[in-house]
């Protein structure tokens, strides 16, 4: 079957319009990205302020929180699905971020278990509106902890074990304030307790718990999303994805010099981000909620081809972790930003490449092959947005050692004026050589060895590490 192009018979005016119209190769390119290269919008995250839900009565707090979330987000899922259908682009997750609960519950919660009741309310609200995660069971303690913030932190292990969809984060330091080492020390114990309480599921609770330095207020990605106090009442943030698209584009630039390599990443990042921008604007319009930011992060999934580590391989590294990996990640991260900022009117959140181990098949392979170690991952976090992400370690790791790992990562963030995070999972009952299974988007992870030399005396000192000299810019 053959038909002739209708263009030749059309009037000049219509011809001009056709030229401006999209052509078949562009359409096929976009659809190939979606169908074969795993292009998707990773998340539409609705940020909801719960500051007006504060009360001195715990039951009232719970009631107000439930009502506000289920009212504001009642159409989130539906609108997300409509956009997916109309534009033919998958939107993998619809999520909610909320004001850090330590601020909302401060007046009502007199002990850790009071906070757990709020966690249950959040879980219920998430289930009612149909979102898969709700983030903001959080405390911001970068300089000091109030009594109530300490209660929230102490409630995290139980909260993570009795809820399914609630994500927790704690900001432990910032370039402006330094690092709260008391909180760093405490989090070592909290992470271990969370692991213990969820040991039936390979310590899954720790996959929903992340600690930050310089945590952003508008991050749409879990587990670290929360709705900062600087934000409006309700807002839409969108996280894009697309490591597979970048990888495929780079395959065509094999053997080319770094100029060409960077140009290719930049152009691809532009295209990916434009889709995110479109989805963000549409969601914002249809939900009648202002548009916040697009987060440019390249977020991998366990699907083959949807991997950051595969991008390194296409760039010319045998495995992620080989010498040159940090440089490769640095250029990738920078070019994604350069392409992305052109494509979106507001960029924010974490905006960089994610390097989670468990959520990226080729990262897992690299660990198993012995190419990628915890120390190399730490070096990589100096040049990308996140940090030690989804790393499984032996369940018998000491709390002080976990605190030491956190302190190192916080220091990198503090000194480099960037966000860093630690989401580490001491898998109870498992050791190096074993595999932890988390399921779904969280994937699975080989248990990685941890440096066993002691740091207890250092982390037990207490107090805080002062802000670095270059933070005094006034």
């Amino acid at each position: 079957m053959k038909i002739f192009s209708t263009k030749c018979t059309e009037s000049k005016e219509k011809q001009e319009r056709v030229v401006k119209m999209i052509n078949i190769s562009e359409v096929l390119e976009t659809n190939n990205m979606i169908e074969k290269e795993n292009l998707d919008v990773r998340t539409i995250t609705m940020g909801i302020s719960l500051l007006d839900c504060a009360d001195s009565d715990l039951d009232k707090v719970n009631e107000k929180i439930y009502d506000k979330i289920t009212t504001k987000a009642k159409d989130l899922l539906k609108v997300g699905q409509e956009i997916e259908r109309e534009y033919g682009i998958p939107i993998v997750n619809k999520r909610i971020s909320i004001t850090p609960i330590s601020l909302v519950g401060a007046n009502a919660c007199k002990e850790p278990k009071d906070y757990v009741s709020i966690a249950k309310t959040l879980d219920q609200a998430a289930k009612t509106v149909g979102v898969n995660f709700i983030g903001g069971y959080s405390a911001l303690v970068s300089k000091g902890m109030t009594k109530s913030e300490e209660y929230l932190i102490r409630s995290i292990p139980e909260a993570m074990s009795v809820t399914e969809r609630v994500c927790s984060s704690v900001n432990l330091g910032s370039t402006k304030t330094g690092i709260n080492m008391d909180a760093v020390r405490l989090m070592g114990d909290i992470i271990l307790d969370t692991a213990e309480l969820t040991k039936e599921n390979d310590s899954l609770g720790c996959a929903k718990l992340v600690v930050f330095c310089n945590a952003p207020d508008d991050n749409p990605f879990m587990a670290g999303a929360f709705h900062g106090v600087t934000e409006a009442d309700c807002i839409i943030n969108v996280g894009v994805s697309g490591p597979g698209v970048v990888k495929t584009a780079l395959e065509k630039a094999k053997g080319a010099d770094f100029g060409t390599l960077c140009e290719t990443i930049k152009k691809t990042a532009f295209k990916i981000t434009r889709v995110g921008q479109l989805v963000a604007q549409e969601a914002s319009k249809r939900l009648n909620v202002p548009f916040g930011i697009v987060d440019l992060s390249l977020a991998p999934t366990p699907a083959i081809g949807d991997s950051i580590a595969e991008i390194f391989e296409v760039m010319g590294l045998e495995k992620a972790g080989a010498p040159g990996t940090t440089a490769a990640l640095a250029l990738l991260n920078d070019q994604v930003k350069k392409g992305g900022v052109m494509a979106s009117s507001y960029v924010g959140g974490l905006s960089g490449a994610f390097i989670p181990v468990s959520e990226d098949q080729s990262m897992i392979d690299a660990v198993q092959a012995g190419a990628l170690t915890l120390e190399k991952l730490e070096a990589m976090t100096c040049v990308c947005s996140v940090g030690l992400d989804m790393i499984a370690i032996p369940g018998d790791t000491k709390a002080t050692t976990i605190s030491g790992i956190i302190a190192d990562e916080m220091a990198i963030g503090m000194v480099n004026q960037k966000t860093t995070a630690v989401r580490i999972i001491p898998v109870i009952g498992k050791n190096v050589g074993d595999m932890a299974q988390f399921g779904g988007l969280l994937g699975y992870a080989p248990i990685m060895p941890v440096n066993s030399f002691d740091c207890a005396e250092f982390v037990n000192r207490g107090g805080r590490i002062p802000a670095p000299i270059h933070s005094f810019k006034n």
Partner: protein, 90 residues
């Protein structure tokens, strides 16, 4: 006028365009432009249509077009043109 892009990708056979066009005509969708190529033995067609006068909602239209595609052994997708414009035009 919000334009819709319909793509048909699959093995070439008799009557693909006829079937899709008949479905569109029955639902009062106006075809503005058709382009087709054969890439590696696969039939690729793109239609630009105006679905603003369609008697069915977009979600129904796109689901039914998928159905028409299945009967033909092709993948038929209907998408608002904005996703392509955003990605390929500044």
């Amino acid at each position: 006028m919000k334009k819709t892009i319909i793509t048909v990708v699959g093995k070439d056979s008799v009557g693909i365009i006829a079937k899709v066009c008949t479905y569109l005509a029955n639902n009062n969708v106006n075809i503005l432009d058709i382009t087709q190529t054969i890439v590696q033995g696969y039939f690729n067609m793109m239609m630009i249509v105006d679905s603003s006068q369609s008697i069915k909602e977009f979600s129904v239209l796109s689901a039914e077009l998928e159905q028409v595609g299945e009967e033909l052994g092709c993948v038929v997708k209907a998408q608002h043109e904005d996703i392509f414009n955003k990605m390929h035009r500044i």
